[in-house]
């Protein structure tokens, strides 16, 4: 017997019925999750979303290294139940349950940790992750600081959202005190013209709206790149034309494959940059890449390297501590601390991938 058009249609209907059954069962099962804690507090996050934050916030997941650092700085490490593969500071953060990278974390692992609040930051995480969390009924709070002032305000606000406003006030005061001291020292000095190297192949620097550009300003420097884009690619020719006083890199202890300063000078073409041939290269800790309280130490460190005269009169005790924290110039360079494949993705796919 041959298949008639009607029989074919019947078959088609079978398939249709089956598919729609699957869809229905899905639709039924997607009922909102029972949320255990009845107490909520509504806050507006830094991207303007209204977030319902369960009270108290006992289980936190951080989806960016900077947020993990901030949580530690606020003394809430015991409430941090999960973080990303790139959360490596402080060392204790590496021991937390990992939920994957910042770009494509595992929603399953996040859900299985029962977080009260997931912390995300606009420059490192993706909007889809936030939407997915929304769909699962998991609250997420987003930060989006673009200047050092905003990093301070952001940490303060976060501390309030997490229920420890006093810790936030203390952290903010400490950051402001350090910055205030620094401004006193640098006030009279003309800024050094620098090129901040986010990544050397292709040569990528920072645009004027990034917190790193602000970091440079506060450290008594000014970026020779004045781009609207956050992570502009710069040609070596342009760098040679503008001849910065210093190149600024951030170091990383984790990335052993990155070139050293010497290797960099040996790269073809780089010797046309005077700062390279004269070894006027400042290497600061990877803290500079993370909009978290520790960035102040990177600012101080950079200021010390760019303006050593301003720090001459009193070789204070704080310097030793700083040197311990910040690797010597010949350690491997990782222009971008979190420049692992995932962070590379962040940058490529979501211009502005630094956190």
């Amino acid at each position: 017997m041959k298949v008639s058009a009607r029989q074919r249609f019947t078959c088609f209907l079978f398939a249709a019925a089956w598919l729609s059954w699957t869809a229905t069962s899905r639709a039924q099962s997607a009922s909102p999750l029972s949320t255990a804690s009845p107490a909520f507090r509504e806050v507006t996050d830094e991207t303007g979303r209204t977030v319902r934050v369960p009270q108290p916030v006992n289980r936190i997941i951080s989806l960016a290294p900077s947020l993990t650092e901030t949580v530690y700085a606020l003394g809430l490490q015991d409430r941090l139940v999960g973080d990303t593969d790139y959360c490596d500071y402080p060392a204790d953060a590496q021991k937390k349950t990992k939920v994957g990278g910042g770009i494509s974390p595992s929603l399953e692992v996040i859900a299985s940790l029962h977080p009260d609040l997931v912390l995300v930051t606009k420059s490192f995480n993706r909007l889809e992750t936030v939407h997915s969390l929304d769909n699962l009924g998991i609250s997420s709070y987003a930060t989006d600081p673009h200047t050092i002032e905003e990093i301070i305000a952001s940490s303060k606000k976060l501390s309030d959202v997490l229920g420890v406003p006093e810790a936030g006030v203390a952290v903010a005061a400490d950051m402001q005190r350090h910055l205030g001291d620094l401004q006193k020292r640098l006030r009279a000095l003309p800024p050094k013209r620098v090129l901040f190297v986010v990544w050397h192949q292709p040569l990528t620097s920072v645009g004027k709206h990034t917190f790193i550009a602000d970091t440079l300003r506060l450290a008594g420097a000014v970026s020779i790149v004045d781009a609207e884009q956050d992570w502009p690619q710069v040609s070596l020719e342009e760098v040679a034309r503008l001849q910065p006083d210093f190149l600024v890199f951030s170091a990383s202890h984790s990335d052993a494959v990155s070139p050293t300063v010497d290797a960099l000078a040996a790269l073809p073409g780089w010797n046309i940059v005077e700062a390279v041939s004269n070894r006027r290269i400042a290497v600061i800790s990877e803290a500079v890449n993370r909009p978290a309280p520790r960035i102040v130490s990177a600012i101080e460190d950079l200021a010390r390297q760019l303006h050593p005269d301003a720090f001459m009169e009193k070789p204070e005790s704080g310097k030793e501590k700083l040197q311990k924290e910040n690797p010597a110039p010949n350690l491997p360079l990782a222009a971008h601390s979190s420049f692992s494949p995932d962070a590379a993705q962040a940058q490529m796919f979501f211009p502005g991938g630094c956190a």
């Binding site: 029989q7 398939a15 999750l33 595992s106 399953e108 889809e128 997915s132 769909n135 490529m348 502005g352």
Partner: protein, 345 residues
């Protein structure tokens, strides 16, 4: 050709459905968070009997709200791409045709991205906004297949090599434009890996699943009504015309429906490659090249393939996820080379 009976068709389909079911259970079981088979079975029964509220919130969240929607999405994407691939292969009389290889997926990606770019300027109503991306993807897919079709014609005949080359070049040209757009624009566009490689990781709004399911059924149903014509087309356009097939009409209808399916899949999963190439081949190898069998079996087979690929994508380096398109490409590209060489030999 063996005469096709309804019973045989149903039997073949039900065998595949059983395999699909097993694959779905495996996909539900494995993931970054371990789930026991017992808990899985218990929770699935509860879902079936409408007792979702009794599911422990832990598994419920992971299985019902994360894995199940993702599997459902994979099912629709796989079936759509596979049916689109089967259709393109029949229309172009080229077994190497596939939405990804022909550049149609890239065209759909570009269309979707352009739709996302113009969306804020149109300030459309929510419903229209939700449909704008699939519409853009569809238009991109249609325009691309038309372009590739004309590139592939030489002296009124489709030339296989020219067609494939035209498709590959068009795809790489469109990918370059996507790259250009992504590196100059900032904002809330999806990541580049989504448009280049495909991803299923983001759960969608409930209504979107309905739109996808119904859209797939309508387009696949339309293609299925031309199944016999597609069989005759295999012999050649002229021959089919002599046998009474309204070739221009069939061609137009199937092109539009297959482009729609591609646009549908790309707008929610990005450019997942090679599914539309390999699945029809495997199904043709097992069940023969009668499109009345090939189309439904390819649909189910596509669902199976994408769910399996996505399960791998979720688990190989868990908890970090790999784009599903990377998995399908790693398996699909070598197979494509094999098929190409065998064809040339």
């Amino acid at each position: 050709m063996k005469p096709l009976t309804l019973r045989r068709l149903l039997l073949q389909c039900s065998v595949l459905v059983v395999i699909l079911f097993v694959v779905v259970v495996v996909a539900l079981k494995f993931g970054a968070v371990p789930v026991s088979l017992y808990a899985l079975g218990r929770d699935l029964l509860r879902v079936v009997f409408g007792q979702s509220s009794q599911i422990s919130s832990d598994y419920g969240l992971i299985i019902v709200n994360i894995r199940l929607p993702r599997i459902l999405l994979g099912m629709i994407v796989g079936a759509s791409l596979s049916v689109a691939g089967t259709s393109f292969q029949a229309l172009l009389r080229n077994p190497l045709a596939d939405p990804y290889v022909l550049g149609v997926s890239s065209g759909a990606s570009l269309g979707a991205i352009l739709a996302l770019i113009v969306e804020p300027h149109l300030s459309p109503s929510p419903l229209f906004a939700a449909l704008l991306t699939p519409l853009g993807a569809f238009l991109g897919a249609t325009a691309t297949i038309a372009a590739v079709y004309f590139l592939g014609r030489r002296e009124g005949q489709i030339d296989s090599t020219t067609l494939l080359l035209g498709g590959v070049i068009t795809g790489s040209f469109l990918s370059a434009i996507i790259l250009f757009l992504m590196s100059t624009l900032t904002g809330s566009l999806r990541g580049l890996s989504f448009w280049m490689m495909g991803e299923l990781s983001t759960p969608l709004q409930k209504g979107v699943y309905w739109f996808l399911g119904i859209g797939f059924l309508v387009a696949a149903g339309v293609i299925y009504t031309t199944a016999s014509d597609l069989n005759l087309l295999l012999a050649g356009e002229k021959e089919a015309m002599h046998l009474g097939v309204d070739v221009p009409r069939v061609r137009l209808v199937v092109y539009i429906a297959a482009s729609f399916l591609t646009g549908l899949a790309v707008s929610v999963s990005g450019a997942v490659g090679y599914v539309g190439l390999i699945v029809p081949h495997v199904m043709r190898f097992i069940f023969g090249s009668d499109h009345r069998t090939l189309l439904p079996t390819a649909a189910i087979g596509g669902a199976i393939a994408v769910i399996m690929a996505d399960t791998l994508a979720r688990t190989v380096v868990a908890p970090t996820e790999v784009p599903v398109g990377a998995v399908t490409a790693v398996i699909g590209a070598p197979l494509f080379i094999y098929l190409l060489r065998r064809r040339l030999a």
